[in-house]
Symmetry: C2
Subunit: 436 residues, 2 copies
């Protein structure tokens, strides 16, 4: 049988990786897919660079539309990124009846519903394993491996840059700014690291996982996003003393009144497996009512790990493209007609525990005052740690771990505590999850 012909849009890091992996392992891949898979056309504005990668083995053009218009091409792989031209090209490829593979989490988190609907109408597949957690087959696990379950929550370290930074901050006791510079020098953080360190990239990914886990549309605009830029080494240290690690987690959880969808630094117990995921690695924990807790771990970025996911999607499409479109695996795990419009909860409605650090005057009655305010807001306390103040020092750190509470209540309590004359600096508050 004639090989499946693939057209690549964009041949940067992941594109080159995809080309390399597909060539190196072509024999194994053919044995698995039952048919060869070949990249026969590549579009990139930098035609010279593209030629340097593919040599004579594929036709190189500058205009992506040439690839899409080519009737020989069965599958279009979009690796351009962003919401702009990528969206136009993906929709155009679908209109032309091409199956699409994309690693573009931003595009899917924002415009996924429109894209999947277009694909459904045209009877083609849009595969996106590479969009979340790189080479870890987490989309497949959620969408196919755990279909028996009512998913309760998903929590993941899904941004390698920030996990690398947090690991370094902890192991070396350094502050955020110092580690960021080092991460940039090592290539773990980009020159403009905003998308990573502000949590936006993680929010794109958890938005996609949320839709698949709960059968709701993708709705990035409803996600709560908080990055790691204001984290201080002191809090990482205190957390450790209390038996916790701080990780940037993407979390989505089903509640009675809606779905939580959020990204923020989070204290998690050190003995949890996911707390021990270090460096640029990714890991996702999924809690299902039948299976309990499962965890998926691996490289979340990089040329070949991401290519691993892109090529797996190509194999899936090759294996399944002759299937009756109504009986393929649905894009968002649930049949298109079965999506629900369960509301995404505002951050004020989210339920978590909290870590609080208050710089307080070292005088009698301060603790009573603060715990009184928490009690007034019905927030119960799990643990208190007060740093012994040094000889002659007039202030000290007071660390409080609370039990679960509604965020809105904590916000009100924080405002009251912050107004106390004995609270000497902005209160640090970090959410805490037991993940069990």
């Amino acid at each position: 049988m004639k090989p499946i012909q693939v057209g690549l849009l964009g041949i940067g890091t992941v594109g080159s990786g995809t080309f390399t992996v597909l060539n190196r392992n072509q024999e194994e891949i053919r044995r698995r897919a039952g048919r060869g898979i070949e990249i026969t056309m590549v579009a990139d504005l930098d035609v010279e660079r593209a030629r340097a990668v593919v040599g004579e083995r594929a036709r190189v053009v500058a205009d992506a539309r040439e690839v899409i218009a080519n009737p020989e091409i069965d599958i279009v792989v979009e690796l351009i990124g962003g919401y702009g031209i990528a969206k136009t090209l993906v929709l155009e490829a679908i209109r032309q009846g091409k199956h699409v593979v994309t690693a573009n989490k931003a595009l899917l988190a924002v415009h996924g519903s429109e894209i999947f609907e277009a694909a459904r109408e045209r009877g083609v597949m849009v595969a996106f394993e590479a969009a979340v957690a790189g080479g870890i087959p987490i989309i497949k696990a959620l969408r196919e491996g755990l279909t028996a379950n009512r998913i309760e929550w998903v929590a993941g370290i899904i941004n390698g840059t920030t996990n690398f930074i947090l690991s370094e901050m902890r192991s070396k006791g350094l502050d955020f700014a110092a580690v960021l510079k080092q991460a940039q020098a090592l290539g773990y953080a980009e020159a403009d690291p905003t998308f990573d360190i502000e949590g936006i990239d993680a929010a794109h990914k958890v938005t996609i996982m949320s839709a698949i886990a709960f059968g709701v549309p993708v709705q990035f605009d409803k996600a709560y996003v908080e990055g790691i830029t204001t984290l201080q080494a002191a809090d990482i240290r205190y957390a450790e003393q209390l038996g916790y690690r701080i990780k940037l987690l993407g979390i989505t959880r089903r509640r009675e009144n809606g779905i939580e969808l959020r990204v923020h630094p989070t204290l998690i117990p050190s003995q949890r497996l996911i707390a021990n995921v270090e460096g640029a690695m990714n890991a996702v924990v999924v809690q299902g009512d039948a299976v309990g807790s499962t965890l998926y771990y691996g490289k979340g970025a990089g040329a070949e790990p991401t290519a691993s996911a892109v090529v797996a999607d190509l194999v899936d499409i090759t294996r399944l493209h002759t299937a009756d479109p109504d009986h393929r695996v649905p894009h968002l795990a649930f049949q298109p007609g079965s999506l629900q419009d369960t509301p995404i909860l505002s951050i004020d409605e989210v339920i978590t525990a909290f870590y609080l650090r208050l710089q307080v005057a070292d005088q009698a009655g301060v603790l009573a005052k603060i715990t009184g305010i928490l009690a007034e807001h019905e927030i119960s306390i799990d643990a208190v740690l007060q740093r012994e103040s040094a000889e002659g020092e007039k202030q000290t750190d007071l660390i409080i771990l609370t039990h679960d509470t509604v965020e809105g209540r904590m916000r009100a309590a924080l405002a009251q505590m912050q107004a106390l004359p004995t609270v000497l600096a902005p209160i640090v508050r970090i959410r805490k999850e037991e993940l069990k």
Copy 2:
């Protein structure tokens, strides 16, 4: 559309779990599968017990053949276990054109090739996610999620009973026999625990993973199997001092001259994520050339975790049974015509590092003698730990960690060392893997 009708053969722990999960989550499952899935018939020799579980919701019969012969039944789920009647029934169901779901690792590890061939000829699917690592979707990950990769090795904690025992031995400093009794009392080990503690169950599972990872037939008879019954608390303690944990691993690895397929207690570095998998939990690490290391963690046994895998298989079949049989996911990941007969290596050809504990006379020249023998066999030493002997004691423990070597060489060296008059007891040797 009419629901998919499922017939259950055997309704013990996993069968009841499957019935419960399918009923409790039927609405979510229908939204995912695009069609209802119903257990309409159950066969169990204990008809009363079966009726107590299913009530009026399914027909209960004593004879499994009645289920298989029923033209209304689309999928037969085999949960009887063992090689005997289960094999006959699975083959009969296939002949009748039924798709089959099974959790029976023993059957597949031994007779898998015959069963998959029969299924291929008849154009039906045999799904077996529940056969390996319970609720963890590791078959799907290997067979579909990592298809881009040349798999290099797979190593897993795939028997919960033995991992529970090893965890308890380590944390409480107890010996094997004491912990086994406790595990039996808690229901973590069966009254006859032979299959678990002798490594046979793990060997069935790693045999299946090996076939899928490397595209070779299942061949349980070629697996090397060593259990945990002779493990001593002292070695767990020494391993810990050297920075290692001891786990019962199922390992399969591609070498230039063939495939390693083995189950045995193994030292692994404590900082590896898999070294921190405690209690009855399972985890599998897969090393692929593109993706690097990925890990899959969760519950490897129990009613609902195993049911999670059984029901996921039912959903897969429901989604895909209309697909062209030649374009379904192949049973063993590779197309039937593409399996290779790469030899399984004998244990003498396997390459690992070793932990050795020698009880030696505390006198001059002993270490020189022993290291001399290792050097003679070209086995190089990674670390040596000699316990300081107490006042007046005439013997001591000598611990040696070696670098990688061919097992046959180690066997020869061990025989020579054992013959030394200064070696006072049988030498303990445990294999060691870096898993990186």
